[in-house]
Symmetry: C3
Subunit: 269 residues, 3 copies
């Protein structure tokens, strides 16, 4: 199997400790020619869903054959399995806790293997830092060209995360929620094009969006179109409906955050 030049990390480790740097070292120790990229280390602590969302938004912008390592791992040291997943274009290394479920939702090919070949781990294996002793070394060997089949058997009983679906309430309204608040205070919802195609049209029909007791009726095409102090809707770069304010934090203005319900009421055409 060909080498993969790139190993990309997504974790909830933050940058306050040497955890991330150590994992880079472990990969380079196995395969010094690798290019290492940090996708994001600010996944909410222990939050598998936030990790799933982060990698699903990011992985497809990387070159084919990138090895994505995802370490959001509240079950570290327990019996939860380490897995390798192959999709048409990418390899993933992660704990088997559902953190790849939103990738699976986007891919036709999704082959999961239980990593059992401990010869590819770092020994002794600590019970608290499998990022260093299990996931990074496996990624290093994968990037060096070891075939996924060498690491362990294919499995079909891997963990699937229950996805928070948008709820359709009657023919013209739906109920979603805020999935993430970005650095600028934009509220990213779970309402996508398949949920409400009309909102994503170039000329969206009249709509009322209800959030935190406010009703928003305007869908802007860019942040800079927004008025002073106005909260408006916009189709975000991740392909989901966002609530935003021009050069200000919609999250702060609305007092909204992750989990805040978002209603959408389309007027019948």
């Amino acid at each position: 199997m060909a080498e993969s030049r790139i190993v990309a990390f997504t974790t909830d480790f933050g940058l306050n400790d040497p955890f991330v740097g150590i994992m880079h070292g472990v990969v380079l120790n196995i395969h010094p020619e690798t290019t290492i990229v940090d996708v994001c280390h600010a996944v909410a602590s222990y939050n598998v869903f936030d990790g799933a969302w982060t990698i699903a938004q990011s992985y497809r912008f990387f070159p084919p054959r990138t090895v994505h390592v995802i370490v959001v791992d509240p079950g570290v040291g327990s019996e939860r399995r380490p897995i390798i997943v192959e999709t048409a274009d990418y390899l993933f290394v992660a704990p088997d806790n559902g953190v790849l479920s939103l990738v699976e939702a986007r891919e036709e090919k999704f082959v999961v293997r239980h990593v059992t070949a401990e010869r590819y781990f770092r020994h002794p294996i600590s019970q608290t830092f499998h990022g260093r002793d299990v996931f990074a070394p496996v990624a290093g060997w994968l990037s060096k060209g070891v075939a996924p089949a060498e690491f362990g058997p294919q499995v079909s009983d891997y963990v699937r995360l229950p996805l928070r679906k948008v709820e359709h309430v009657g023919a013209h309204s739906l109920r979603g929620e805020v999935l993430r608040v970005d650095k600028f205070g934009n509220l990213i919802t779970n309402i996508g094009e398949l949920d409400a195609p009309a909102l994503f049209a170039s000329q969206p029909p009249p709509v009322s969006i209800l959030v935190s007791g406010e009703t928003i009726t305007r869908i802007c095409r860019s942040y800079s179109e927004g008025g002073d102090g106005e909260i408006f809707a916009i189709i975000g770069s991740s392909g989901y409906l966002e609530l935003a304010a021009r050069q200000a934090s919609a999250a702060e203005r609305l007092g909204a955050g992750v989990g805040t319900p978002v209603g959408v009421l389309q007027e019948p055409t």
Copy 2:
């Protein structure tokens, strides 16, 4: 045109979201041999001047032919133009909002092109994340060796930021301000060697520096020269007058921050 091995990013995106990692992926997808460097992602949100200051302090420490990408872009999705700038040694990709004005002030050659060749963009182009769909791909292609002229026509009506000049008040005094507070609480002013050559001499003359109601008269040569609890002046590594405290935050002690006025009174010689 020769390849540029290095693409360096300066943004106001922070590291809380996968924005930066995604841009790295986009560049590597176009040119996997690139070395990517993060100059700084902590530019103050939407603050074009802070971005201009950050890149002006940093760009010249990189190898010749580095492609610097600057994304501080409150006008994303509006009509503001993406530009490529060529100086004697570097290439810059940025929104046309003045974020390169402090680089221009340092360079003789400063050739600006309006990037119009949409074939070098990622499609579909989102209205909210041109870092991913416009600036990173253009940087990737530039680093791969596509000549700047391929991206669009030269323009001369690019945006210039009004620079905050130091004000000379009489022959012996001047009024500047704090431009930035660094991680250690040092207050970096806009007062440079051209404004007050005497302060930068190896034996500076007696001087009074007025800030936040305090008068500072000592210019130290190193942080460790400062006394316990003392606020002193020092010539910082960026070439500007700084106010500092030994192993403590001058910003906190003075209650000063970005925009705080700083007066300098030189005694007549």
Copy 3:
């Protein structure tokens, strides 16, 4: 001397300023083929001991011949010397302030040189940013293959940090302290296997751990073994005793932090 492909940085600079990016640029300017890794930039400001701990936990996971640069440098601009240290597998560049003392404690070979060859520095040398003008350039030239002996003479009077030893109080009890709080709120102590071998056995004997007025008696094998709201002990990935809580911050629950005393009372066998 052979080239070193990797230069790894550990500093107290944080990521709020372009300091780290500038140092990367300086290294690449000297040796564009280098792979640069950030070990950690969140060492507590001016805290030489925290820097010593961070590099000691991290350096050995990197490939042999990695050049580790450590910049925790409260004495920048003073007479403190820049040094290069050679161990069996690694090179280190740092200020001579004891920041490598915990590396020395782990290594048999520890050859220290005073860097006097100013031709390898960036000029003019600022008095406030030797990371840029001294340490990064020296690392760049080392990684390019310049032999350590070219930089200056061997010295034996280098600074050694007084190490905070665990105190043995009678035959069955000892007193240590918290060294670091990680991102998840785990309290990492200075109590290692040599201090209390019994605690590190696969079947540890009954023990009482006293911290912040609480008595902890359980040593778990993984974070997920902990009960809801329980504070327990665990052998951390750094090889030291940690106090932890399952998916929660032990630091917050105990009101403990760096320097908090930790007593261990082993029952006589």
